[in-house]
């Protein structure tokens, strides 16, 4: 019901919106819940388990009942709290967890079976027979349960994440937060003031109070105006601080555009902030708590503070007549405010026998509401039990309930802090120092008067400023209401009928008592047994009351029974916001070589190698990958091929101890390598397993260039830094990556020298470039490097020029290669060539293989120490039981092999226990025909010639293969020496 002329938003524009297919009018910017109440809509949701009709309970993000789905298309968002969603022109929202609508929900039959669906129902009922769980019970339960549903389509909305930094983060902009921000702002500190609401002010916007002699809202406006003038203060509205993390890191969810009818293009829907704050003040306020009594979930029953919010902020009354039920002075405040607004307050029911009166309102002292009555659409009457036991029924449209306040301690629990019970306010307050650097102030610390909050905010800012070494400004908290908080604890009213504690998960007082009776007497067990506190509101509205009921049921006090704790996030955070920026190209960087465009232009499909993209093959005509691979491999074997190898790691190592350093990180010796020469090196981890391999070239006495595999480039660089900084800090060795500086191409094949002879300034004198030599060259005057190395088994070179010339060099190399009957080759051919030669990659050195396994035990020099040397000698890392590198060739000529297949001895059953190894790499072979593979086989070096069975369980293939030496082509290396 709208109260004309009332509410802070009385002048707001009128807009149209839809709820459950019906059109309504509301005031722009007000919460959907307020707009629905203004239109007389009381049923806004259905409960999770029993599908009971529910109305709005609160006016904040803690709302348990009024969860709706907003939007209709791919970006529709379920479980939006109607208390948070702002109304705009054209807003469309739907009730959820109901079919066909929240007003008439067929699933409400669950409620009729409620006697059978009590706490622990699932555990008791669906346990047996076991096999039914996966096929029958779980799918059925899943269909019936759940709240809103996602669209199932790709979410087209942009989301964002961002980092922010401040001296002081103030969480919540009520009286305590505003005071803290003002004081810190005046002191010159970098301040972020974050508040959930669309405008700062907190409870001051929802109450009829005076601060510093003026209406509280006017005081808020003055403070905000001053904050807005301060360049060191950032006020973030619609921003919920969701979590407190180590070393002053906070997560915060900003709702950027969900309240807008037409967001600007590119504007994110939400932004997830990581805020690093040197200090923080928690001014999160308090959450009013309901009282459990029979039928307390009927639409029309609402928290008293929420009713005042709707009244003062949004000019809405939940009905024409109200009964107020409470146990503290907020009951009187509520009755007074409603009466002043012209709402008929039919009665005030106060559990306290000494409760103060409100003029003109019928008073029930020492009384409780024992039940409610009404139809499908909500409350029609309440039953009151008077102090003398007399029962009275009063017809009324709505009921305001106040069971007192729970400090919003949530963030103080995020780092394992356990709130402590404070008897005089019958509530939990934050433990001291629960989150380092975060000071709770005001209502969240149990201080409920406005004046007390203002003072606490000022105090907390002063303490934070002192910690930051800053001078607190001379200022005093303004005059405001300082009335003491007086309450008589009241958690649950005895009586017949279901009294709800957790509205979202449909947990009743009886359920908690049942848990206690069945010996789930620990609060953690009770929660799991009843599911109390496990709904999206995470127990904000029910934890303390449920604990109190459990305490009573088990005959203990509340602090003895347990405490309440909360994990992040304070409000649900969409995955889209947390993973913002990671869609599509944002998922991972793309590293592109200088030949990328040319390779794509030739139709090469790209495959990912780490972050790099490398050409798989260069198809001609309608070639498939295997045909292209065979053609390219043959081209290298018979003429010349060109491949971009820039992705391999290149590390420049200089320093007086560079050679000694390489001796230490490689198993073999580099100090004996002559300048101008290249050597293959094997690198172990300290645990004796192979880390990486590659060639290292010596350009000078104290200057080497190391090559790593593409896969391990980063790991090796970090390892070298570790060895030099951590293990050999006294050595003069200075490694730096030069991977990105050089575009490097393999030129391989019998005509490779011929190609390079035409390219390199002054030609290529083959005698000066023996196998495993290196040196400087120029190409059209540009300085480059040439290495005579081979990963193909053919005579081969790698030529490197600065990357800016990479594209041009690639073009030039291809032109020359094609003139010689060659061309580019991709990763498939590169793989095929190296498999024939038994050259290993990270398919073989996958982290579990030792130098012994790959047949390189002799490369571990006996003359010097090296990383991994001691461990490599351990029992079990060498010997007959090890799976050793072998070559594999199908017995049936041309049979296709698959990597990942397991190796079995002939005649052995193909079960895991009999597996003797596995296939690591396979490729079509040009030199030998058919397919070839590499793999590991137990004691494999002694089994050359044996026929084994390769079984690929995953692909359902098996074939017989002959075990061979891994080097299956040109074992003497005649070809690569050219």
């Amino acid at each position: 019901m709208r109260l004309p002329g009332r509410g802070r938003n009385a002048g707001a524009e009128e807009v149209r919106f839809r709820f459950d297919g019906r059109d309504y009018r509301g005031r722009a910017g007000e919460p959907l819940a307020a707009a629905l109440l203004a239109n007389g809509v009381r049923v806004m949701g259905r409960s999770f388990k029993y599908h009971r009709p529910r109305g709005v309970m609160t006016a904040g993000s803690e709302e348990p009942n009024a969860l709706v789905t907003v939007g209709r298309g791919a970006d529709r968002e379920p479980n939006v709290r109607a208390t948070v969603q702002e109304v705009f022109e054209g807003l469309e929202a739907y009730g959820q967890n109901a079919w066909p609508s929240v007003h008439f929900d067929l699933m409400a039959v669950n409620d009729l079976f409620a006697p059978f669906l009590g706490a622990g129902f699932y555990y008791k009922t669906f346990m047996w027979p076991r096999a039914f769980w996966e096929k029958l019970y779980e799918p059925g339960i899943r269909r019936a349960a759940g709240l809103g549903v996602l669209s199932g389509e790709h979410n087209p909305d942009p989301y964002e994440k961002a980092f922010a930094f401040c001296d002081l983060l103030v969480i919540g902009a009520g009286p305590a937060g505003l005071m803290a921000a003002l004081a810190a702002g005046r002191a010159g500190a970098e301040v972020i003031l974050a508040d959930e609401g669309p405008e700062p002010g907190g409870r001051l916007l929802s109450e009829d109070e005076r601060v510093e002699g003026q209406p509280a809202q006017a005081w808020v406006a003055v403070v905000l105006a001053e904050l807005a003038e301060m360049p060191n203060v950032r006020v973030m509205t619609r921003t919920t601080v969701t979590g407190a993390y180590d070393q002053g890191t906070y997560g915060a969810l900003e709702r950027v555009s969900a309240h807008m009818a037409r967001p600007a293009p590119g504007l994110p829907r939400e932004c997830f902030w990581r805020i690093a704050a040197k200090r923080a003040v928690l001014a999160a306020g308090a959450l009013e708590r309901p009282v459990a009594f029979a039928g307390n979930d009927r639409p029309g029953v609402m928290l008293a503070s929420a009713m005042r919010s709707y009244l003062h902020r949004w000019g809405v009354a939940p009905g024409r007549s109200v009964v107020v039920f409470g146990n503290n002075d907020d009951a009187q405040r509520t009755a007074r405010d409603l009466a002043a607004a012209g709402v008929h307050v039919a009665a005030m029911v106060d559990a306290r026998t000494d409760a103060p009166e409100v003029a003109g309102v019928r008073m029930f002292r020492g009384a409780v509401v024992t039940g409610t009555a009404g139809g499908r659409h909500g409350l029609e009457a309440v039953t009151i039990r008077c102090e003398d036991g007399r029962v009275e029924r009063i017809a009324v449209e709505s009921l305001a309930v106040s069971g007192g306040w729970n400090p919003a301690v949530h963030l103080t629990c995020h780092m394992n802090g356990r709130p402590v019970w404070r008897e005089e306010i019958a509530a939990f307050v934050p433990a001291d120092g629960a989150v380092p650097g975060l000071a709770p102030a005001g209502a969240c610390a149990g201080e409920f008067s406005t004046r007390g909050c203002l003072e606490a905010g000022l105090r907390a800012a002063g303490a934070a400023l002192a910690d930051l070494g800053m001078q607190a400004p001379a200022m005093e908290a303004p005059e405001a209401d300082a009335a003491r908080y007086r309450l008589r604890p009241l958690w649950a009213v005895e009586g017949r009928g279901r009294a709800w504690l957790d509205f979202q998960n449909d947990v009743t007082v009886k359920d908690v008592k049942l848990a206690a009776q069945e010996n789930y007497a620990s609060v953690e067990h009770m929660k799991r047994y009843t599911t109390q506190g496990m709904a999206p509101d995470q127990g904000k509205n029910s934890n303390v009351a449920a604990l109190a009921v459990l305490a009573e049921a088990t005959g203990r006090g509340i602090p003895e029974t347990g405490t309440t704790t909360f994990r992040p996030p304070y409000v649900p955070v969409s995955i889209a916001a947390m993973g913002a920026g990671a869609q599509g190209k944002g998922f991972a960087p793309e590293r592109l070589t200088t030949s990328h465009a040319a390779s794509r232009a030739r139709g090469a499909p790209m495959i990912e190698a780490g972050l790099w993209y490398r050409p798989s093959y260069f198809p001609q005509g309608d070639e498939d990958w295997e045909a292209a691979c065979r053609r390219e491999a043959r081209m290298v074997r018979e003429a010349v091929g060109v491949a971009d190898v820039s992705t391999l790691g290149k590390i420049d190592v200089q320093g007086a101890d560079a050679a000694r350093f390489l001796d230490f990180v490689y198993t073999n010796t580099f100090s004996t390598l002559k300048p101008g020469r290249v050597r293959y090196g094997l690198m172990l981890r300290e645990d004796g397993h192979v880390m990486d391999d590659g060639t290292t070239a010596r350009f000078g006495e104290t200057h080497f260039v190391m090559t790593t595999t593409t896969a391990a480039a980063g790991e090796v660089m970090a390892h070298l830094e570790w060895v030099r900084q951590g293990l050999r800090p006294d050595w003069d060795v200075r490694p730096i990556s030069v991977t990105e500086q050089w575009a490097q191409f393999a030129v391989a094949g019998p005509r490779s020298a011929e190609l390079l002879d035409g390219l390199i300034d002054g030609g290529l004198d083959k005698d000066a470039w023996p196998f495993m030599s290196c040196g400087k060259v120029t190409v059209q005057g540009i300085g480059g490097r040439l290495f005579r190395i081979s990963f193909s088994g053919e005579e081969g070179y790698e030529i490197a020029l600065p990357a800016r010339y990479g594209a041009a060099l690639f073009d030039e190399l291809l032109t020359r290669a094609e003139a010689l009957g060659g061309g580019p080759y991709g990763m498939e051919a590169l793989n095929a060539l190296r498999v024939e030669k038994g050259f290993i990659t990270h398919a073989e050195i996958h982290g579990r293989t030792t130098a012994f396994d790959i047949g390189m035990a002799r490369m571990v020099s006996a003359k010097k120490d090296c990383i991994g040397k001691a461990a490599a000698t351990r029992e079990g890392l060498s010997g007959e039981d090890r799976e050793q590198l072998v070559g594999l060739r199908p017995v049936e000529e041309g049979a296709r092999m698959t990597a990942g297949a397991h190796v079995f001895a002939e005649g052995a059953a193909h079960v895991r226990e009999n597996s003797e190894g596995y296939v690591t790499s396979v490729a079509p072979s040009v030199a030998l025909g058919g397919w070839l593979g590499l793999g590991f086989l137990r004691n494999g070096r002694a089994r050359h010639g044996e026929v084994v069975v390769l079984v690929d369980h995953l692909r359902g293939r098996r074939l017989r293969a002959t075990v061979q030496d891994p080097v299956q082509y040109d074992p003497e290396g005649v070809r690569l020496r050219g």
């Binding site: 993390y245 070393q247 890191t249 380092p436 300290e686």
Partner: protein, 88 residues
């Protein structure tokens, strides 16, 4: 989590890479396998309380760091360059 790199100042955890216990700084001098190597490579205390870990400021300055922190409270007592911290 934030670590105060001695070179770069306080930085977000995402810039750092964890290696393991700072024991790795004290590499045995012997080339033959021994119980010392077991302790160096594998045996770890897993304390509830103070630990000394190695982290690299991998996405920052590249420095290897010895971080002294508490596994219970997550407080960080000290961050220093690994260089010069070992016995090797």
């Amino acid at each position: 989590m934030r670590l105060r790199c001695p070179l770069c100042g306080e930085r977000d955890r995402r810039e750092f890479t964890y290696k393991g216990a700072a024991v790795a700084l004290d590499r045995p001098a012997t080339e033959a396998w021994s119980a010392d190597w077991d302790d160096y490579l594998h045996n770890r205390a897993n304390p509830a309380g103070e630990t000394r870990d190695l982290w690299q400021h991998a996405a920052g300055c590249g420095a290897w760091l010895v971080v002294t922190r508490d596994t219970v409270t997550h407080s960080i007592a000290d961050v220093r360059l690994a260089r010069g911290e070992g016995t090797a």
